[in-house]
Amino acid sequence: MDNLDYIDDYFNGANTSEQIKLFEQKIMSDPGFAEDVAFYTSATGTLKEQANELKKVRFKEIYLAQKVIPAKVIPIKGIWRYMAAASVVAAVIGLTLFFTAGKTSPKQLADAYITQNFATMQGISMGTKKDSLQNGLDLYNHGKLTEALVQFKSMVKNDSTDAVAKKYAGIICLRFENYDEALQYFSSLENDASLYINPGKFYKALTLMERNKTGDKDAAKVLLHDVVDKNLEGKDFAVGWLKKL
């Protein structure tokens, strides 16, 4: 433990130049200490690698989301025609919203989210899981949802802590309108304290909104408030939805 403390300080830049020199001399002269340094480096490096993989998954989701409706360049001389048309459309939408009191059904909001975000899925492979995860995503993206679900369920069976597989299994159950099973996967995800980016609660709210049975709307609102209050994954959508529900 003393060695670990010493090593941790070294990698955090807490040592003076003299201490750094002594540290490096100790690596050369003390094989046990060198092994401690090697293990610390391997473990911390592996953890950093895993953290980066998670970020890459997040970045991929952002990248794909911003590609859903690509920005179109409109020639400047024709822009007034588009603006006039847009104004008319905006006026019609505005009047419609005014006369319908501005409320949207939970199912409409959930449908829009599912259509926009779950049409295709991309993931970044994580070490040894690379083949099975990528295989599941390929099946999903080719519309073979049943086969993809089998793949993700098998991954969860082999590793009950596999949060990525649980997430995708839950999404497919949601798309199959198998709401109870989707809720089970998302609850399990929500309770995974090891995740610091956890969409479990948000997806549970989404599932309840999509199911839209008696009491689901109120239960979803409670979850969405929690997502906002705790600044969880999906907060931006939750804020918008709470205004419309």
Binding site: M1, L4, D5, D8, Y10, F11, E24, Q25, I27, M28, A34, E35, V37, A38, F39, Y40, T41, S42, A43, T44, G45, T46, L47, K48, E49, Q50, A51, N52, K55, K56, R58, F59, K60, I62, Y63, A65, Q66, V68, I69, A71, G127, T128, D159, T161, D192, A193, S194, Y196, I197, N231, D236
Partner: protein, 200 residues
């Protein structure tokens, strides 16, 4: 829908983003996402300039952002150039690395980058000794033992690996002091080592 609509902190300047990334506050993640979104058009440039596929250009760009997030947090980014120029230089280097590794059949450009970065902190001769010992480590077993740690350990180690300081972790997880986090975190590494050694 414009790219800006996906930025979590659309009004933040690059300078604001740097501050959020260095402070490790609750805005850190949003700053990371905003930074990624702000210069995402580099991906298209990489596809044209270096003839990369979209996936390859995405990899090079996301590796660029990950590297920049790390160097900003560690105060290695000295602000000698603008953030955009700095990112573009890294992106070009990552793209060239990718091409080079493709031609030598080494597809992963990031596989052990974190370990390599840590090793670079050690002086040459001592580094060789540590490097040789790391090469003997069974990384699959290590990853598997990591999964078997308790939830608290996993959470603490994941936050630390993500660049949060012990003080920030203490605040996030409701611990009294940074020292308690440090001690607990190092105990977790010790547990990991015992689990690793028991199975090797």
């Amino acid at each position: 829908m414009s790219i800006m609509a996906f930025e979590q902190l659309p009004n933040a300047t690059d300078e604001d983003l740097i501050i959020h990334l260095q402070q490790g506050s609750h805005l850190k993640r949003k700053a990371e996402d905003t930074l990624f979104t702000r210069y995402v058009y580099f991906i298209k440039e990489g596809m044209h300039k270096y003839s990369l596929t979209e996936d390859e250009a995405f990899d090079a760009y996301s590796d660029t952002i990950l590297y920049a997030i790390g160097s900003i947090a560690d105060n290695i980014f000295e602000k000698k150039s603008s953030l955009k120029t700095y990112l573009y230089k890294i992106f070009c280097n990552k793209s060239v690395d990718l091409i080079r590794k493709k031609t030598t059949n080494k597809n992963s450009i990031h596989q052990t980058a974190s370990i390599t970065d840590m090793l670079l902190k050690i002086a040459d001769t001592a580094r060789t000794v540590v490097q040789q010992l790391i090469e003997k480590t069974d990384m699959d077993t290590l990853a598997s033992r990591l999964k078997q740690l308790g939830d608290k350990c996993k959470q603490m180690l994941a936050l630390y690996a993500d660049g949060y300081t012990d003080k920030e972790i203490a605040a996030a997880l409701d611990y009294k002091t940074a020292d308690v986090i440090k001690t607990s975190r190092l105990r977790c590494i010790e547990k990991l080592r015992q689990a690793y050694n028991n199975n090797n």
